[in-house]
């Protein structure tokens, strides 16, 4: 009834729908509460957090591009402790797993964040974001640090630059899943001020580039692949699954058409689960929703024999 999106281990992550938001696109859980039905998502991935607080970038932060945009925020956040204490209760009430995205600042900070997440009942997994020009050795050290400091699955989101090599590095270092990939970076001129801004690039065209990376990686990793980049339709999401991804992350589409996230989650929830029985792709998986979630939680509690007072099984 559920899809396992991280490799086998102590606490593999199970989801009802292989669709979740990409880190940085839906805030910490309260932003889209009136616009997106959260319970239809396979998982919730938070905005990036760092061990210490980070301030916003100064100057222009958004450059509209043709069929896309460039954004440069500097990933402002008040640090992992404040985030936890503020959102713990909200996350505890979510029907789906919560994955906290941790920015790969330094191996030490990543280890500390992992320990923090390990102790946090409201959080089901950690997603580690690797910086764009990170050397392989440092990436490996960071992933091992995260994996070594929590029993929860560690998803690793590799940057677009050098994605293939870093995906293999993360896989060898024990990543529970490899998210392919963070948005490509670029530079564009703010049309208002004429100043050059460097930041992340989003748009439907990104999908074509990242889909090829997933095709190239398919079958090469032990950890499941989560496809992430430029999904703007149900078919875009299915293309990632067809190419070998176990799940997908939807990024800026949610800003432009919030309801599409739910539509894609519903669509792929049905598609993936009914396909093995030879059903049509648009047929719906009838168990989706609370029922499957409860069954999953019950199974998890029984199997793992831990977290007896599971937050979500009540």
């Amino acid at each position: 009834m559920s899809i396992q999106i991280t490799r086998a281990g102590k606490n593999p992550l199970q989801v009802d729908s292989p669709v979740m938001p990409a880190a940085g696109t839906m805030g910490f859980g309260d932003a889209y509460s009136g616009l997106v039905k959260f319970e239809k998502l396979g998982a919730f991935v938070t905005n990036p957090v760092t061990y210490t607080p980070w301030n916003p970038a100064s100057g222009a932060r958004v450059v509209p591009l043709d069929s896309g945009m460039l954004i440069h925020t500097g990933l402002p956040n008040p640090g992992i402790s404040k985030v936890m204490s503020k959102y713990r209760d909200l996350w505890d009430n979510f029907a789906m797993p919560v994955i906290v995205h941790v920015v790969g600042t330094s191996p030490e900070h990543v280890r500390k964040c992992a320990s923090r997440i390990d102790a946090e009942h409201a959080v089901d997994a950690l997603e580690l974001g690797l910086n764009d020009d990170i050397p392989w050795a440092e990436a490996e050290q960071m992933v091992r640090g995260a994996v070594g400091n929590t029993d929860k699955p560690v998803l690793v989101r590799v940057p677009f630059t050098d994605a293939l090599a870093l995906a293999e590095t993360a896989d060898h270092a024990g990543a529970g899943a490899v998210v392919v990939c963070a948005p490509p970076r670029g530079s564009a001129r703010d049309p208002h001020s004429g100043r050059m801004v460097t930041g992340r690039i989003y748009g439907p065209m990104v999908k074509a580039m990242v889909l090829r990376l997933v095709e190239q990686l398919a079958g090469k990793l032990e950890a499941p692949i989560i496809g992430s980049g430029g999904i703007h339709s149900e078919q875009d999401a299915r293309d990632y699954i067809d190419a070998g991804a176990r799940a997908v992350q939807v990024d800026t589409l949610t800003w432009i058409q919030p309801f599409m996230l739910e539509r894609i989650a519903r669509d792929l929830g049905g598609l993936v689960l009914t396909r093995p029985a030879g059903a049509l792709a648009d047929e719906w998986f009838p168990g989706m929703g609370e029922t499957a979630k409860k069954a999953r939680d019950a199974a998890k509690n029984k199997d793992a024999g831990q977290n007896p007072a599971s937050k979500k099984s009540g």
Binding site: S33, S58, R61, T73, P78, D89, F259
Partner: protein
């Protein structure tokens, strides 16, 4: 990072039904406190109606001058409780045709007027630049209301609005509301704003044309009289221009108290709901506000200006 320096919200009023019982905010519905934007400063306590996605139809397009066109839209009734100062994020609706991703971001629309008409669809007018082109019959989806209504002192009698190198549209719905509530209102048009057609402005509004450097006759008097000031500026350097204006007021007045002068931020809003963090505005003391949740009107004395 502290949520310090919260203004005395009790001393402020927001227009119309914003304090009504049924105006439950998103935040309230989650049973969580109002000050919940991650690390963000809450300027006022009320956001008005919860944000929804609704549909709108362009009924008429009129050309105001070479640079500005006015869209007359029919909107869903649920949006007609939008308050002066709040905005919508608009996107063309393509129906059964393939979705277009150019332009990509939603357009930030500032209503100039919203009218409920019993037995008819509600109406909204917005001013837009002459590019892109809009045609009657086109459908849009609107995300809104975005942001908080402008908040006024209870004792307010004189309001000064300033549009400096920008269309005055972000100020017009509030101006209309103030005038209808018998608050004397003055609009200063400066730089690129001077061409705005006065014929489209309410008769009771005092309009002043300033030069490019925000100089106008009797400036000290205008500034001295004002109980509150709302300023919209050009987008080449919003914070730098806010700073200029604040310094001008500091030079013209004995003191510039809190809750006296507000910058109306027109920063691009990719999401409008506090998710993307692209509309952050740094505050004094290291905290920050989000233009989409805490704005668009932000107390200039609380901002960390360059």
């Amino acid at each position: 990072m502290l949520l310090a320096a919260l203004p005395d919200t009790e001393a402020l009023i927001v227009p119309a039904e914003a304090t009504d019982q049924h105006q439950t905010t998103e935040r309230q519905r989650h049973g969580r406190p109002n000050v919940c934007t991650m690390g963000a400063y809450a300027f006022q306590g009320h956001r008005g109606a919860p944000m929804r996605e609704t549909q709108a139809n362009i009924e008429r397009v009129t050309r105001l001058n070479a640079h500005i066109q006015r869209l007359h839209l029919s909107i869903e009734d649920s949006l007609n409780t939008i308050k002066p100062g709040q905005t919508v994020l608009a996107r063309r609706f393509y129906g059964s045709q393939p979705e277009q991703w150019q332009p990509y971001l939603r357009e930030h629309w500032w209503p100039v007027a919203v009218t409920a008409k019993p037995g008819h669809p509600s109406e909204m007018t917005v001013d837009r630049p002459t590019y892109p082109s809009y045609d009657p019959g086109q459908q849009y989806t609107l995300l809104g209301p975005v942001g908080k209504p402008f908040a006024y002192k209870r004792t307010i009698r004189q309001v000064l609005m300033i549009a400096h190198d920008t269309m005055p549209s972000p100020l017009l719905m509030s101006t209309e509301w103030l005038l209808s509530n018998k608050v004397n209102t003055t609009l200063v048009l400066s730089g690129k704003a001077v061409d705005y057609p006065v014929s489209e402005l309410p008769k009771e509004l005092e309009v002043i044309r300033s030069d490019d450097k925000l100089q106008w006759p009797n400036r000290v008097m205008t500034v001295g009289w004002a109980d509150q000031v709302f300023v919209a500026v050009g987008q080449d350097d919003e914070m730098g221009r806010f700073k200029e204006v604040l310094e001008l007021f500091k030079a013209l007045r004995a003191e510039v108290p809190k809750q006296y002068i507000f910058g109306v931020s027109q920063l691009i809003q990719p999401c409008g709901v506090g998710a993307c963090q692209a509309c952050t505005i740094s505050l004094q003391g290291g905290d920050y506000a989000l233009a989409c949740l805490d704005g668009p009107a932000l107390d200039l004395t609380a901002l960390h200006l360059p």
